[in-house]
Symmetry: C2
Subunit: 328 residues, 2 copies
């Protein structure tokens, strides 16, 4: 089947998503740490989507997508593939609408994420992240009639994640802060795509930067090349939430217009950011959720003298890995 | 010197403190976890003062106390004794007013707390928690002219902590929740004293429960006896923030009127609550800050079918202890 790439969502779509999500999501706070500010000579405002329903921002997009399904589609159920955060967002949203959900997860997905998906009442099937193509795994279920809820390359998903950008702008304003820079973890680019649309609409001069794990810098290389570039196979990272093959068609169409650039951080830098989040912010952040903070710590994004918003995108990390990284 | 016990603060004093604190403190969010609700068959609303300036609720009381000092008193500087959270609150508040602060801390205070006090610009002297009397340690500095900022037994301190109660009531109302029970960690009783005054003023039928570490159940035994009872010496606990000799005169005068009761939890229960806070709430909570949640987990306070607010009072825990407790 050939599918035309749908147009990206607009700022109006994001505002409509915010209306739909009102009362269903946590309006996550904007947190400031004097210690971080002093250390980096900047005003750093943190948006902990770790405190969002399902433990990551993914609930926003999934709920927005599912809420827009027709009654006939809802009856047929949904299917999704995800290493865990999107899976939890879909499972919890589907449960709220009483919709049957089937989620394909890689066998090496964090145990906490798989357990939470099952707890929300979804059925889980597993696949090999390296050897199996995820679309091939879910195709039979789509042909059966289920609606695919994609992890990022979908206008309704992007619009849902974009509601974070609306909150960021409004909350910063309340604090009397004018945002110079917004720094966002980047996997497939749905989160930063939505956020950058909302932020640029309200404040065109604010810079938006993507942060990716080392060896998974598909967005950085795609921005440089002017077209979508895949990641080389065979690499691993503790940032399970950010491991994609390449940017989405829709997300890249947005991000090539909106982003000031993309930088990478190592696993060790992500782990250090997790430790700093624990000691300075008292927040549990998962590896992939901590990369934007890591980019400040390593200096990959220069923040000196600026007012900066940093998205902490998720907190779903297995306790044994978390304990190991805290002890390191 | 003989000192008359001053009268407890009133609800009006707490409202005045809230005015003074406006813009200086974080209005900590009220967080709800579907997973916790389902596990306990209750609606559980968590108030993470872990996200407060200085990493615990103590900033509220210290700031309220120091802001009310005369110009002459401010010039003479302040002195305080504390295992760490009050010390950080005093140090950071004093720094905001440009006041010299000297803090006496026990030699076994958590390293993170001592480091943060020094970073805020306060001078630290240490004393032996078991062999030295803390009042004897600070008396020379009081005689020198410094104003003592007591950790809990002071009307301005209690009123400052009570602002949490005002926020709790207003935030619960916004969520459409009517609080049956409020559960609060209890050391000297200043936090729960202030909170219970504010909560009972707005909602007299709401029950307020204190939670203490095992062997440090001075408030529980004092409530039973109808008079202040000290703890037996020689015990230890990981809940460093809650280790006092006995309830304060002012705090006990409040708490004997306002509390429905007090319960105790073990160190292991506090550690389990810290792990649950990490996995379910994505919050770093210190041992003493987790005892109210621990009381729900152990069933020490029965919450089934109720709407309950739980105060997570602080998050200042050394990373190596934290990693050990997460791994357990």
């Amino acid at each position: 089947m050939t599918v035309q790439t749908p147009p990206p969502p607009t700022a109006a779509d994001i505002r409509a998503a915010a209306e739909r999500l009102r009362g269903q999501i946590v309006e996550t706070p904007l947190i400031e740490s004097q210690a971080l500010n002093e250390r980096f000579g900047a005003r750093i405002l943190l948006k902990p989507e770790t405190l969002q329903r399902s433990g990551s921002f993914k609930f926003r997009g999934a709920y927005n997508k599912i809420s827009a399904l027709s009654e006939a589609e809802k009856k047929r159920g949904v299917v999704a593939f995800s290493s865990g955060n999107h899976a939890q967002g879909v499972a919890q949203s589907a449960a709220l609408f009483g919709i049957d959900a089937l989620i394909a997860m890689p066998t090496d997905a964090p145990a906490i994420k798989m357990a939470n998906v099952k707890k929300a009442g979804a059925r889980v099937i597993t696949f090999d992240r390296v050897r199996e193509d995820r679309m091939t795994v879910v195709r039979p279920y789509i042909e059966e009639g289920r609606v695919l809820v994609p992890p990022f390359d979908d206008p309704a998903i992007i619009a849902g994640q974009g509601t974070i950008g609306l909150e960021l702008v409004a909350q910063a304003q309340k604090l009397g802060a004018s945002l110079d820079t917004v720094i966002v973890p980047c996997g497939g680019g749905g989160l930063i795509g939505g956020i950058s649309l909302a932020v640029k609409d309200a404040s065109p001069e604010t810079q938006v930067w993507a942060v990716e794990p080392e060896n998974f810098d598909d967005t950085r290389r795609s921005l440089a090349a002017g077209e979508r570039k895949p990641n080389a196979p065979g690499h691993v990272s503790i940032c399970d939430a950010l491991l994609v093959n390449e940017p989405g068609a829709i997300t890249f169409a947005i991000n090539r217009r909106t982003l000031s650039g993309a930088v990478t951080v190592s696993d060790e830098a992500a782990a250090q950011a997790m430790r700093d989040a624990a000691t300075l912010l008292k927040l549990v952040v998962e590896p992939g959720g901590a990369v934007a903070l890591a980019a400040i710590i390593t200096g990959a994004v220069d923040v000196r003298g600026k007012t900066v918003a940093v998205v902490l995108s998720g907190g779903n990390v297995d306790l044994d890995l978390y304990a190991r990284l805290m002890a390191a």
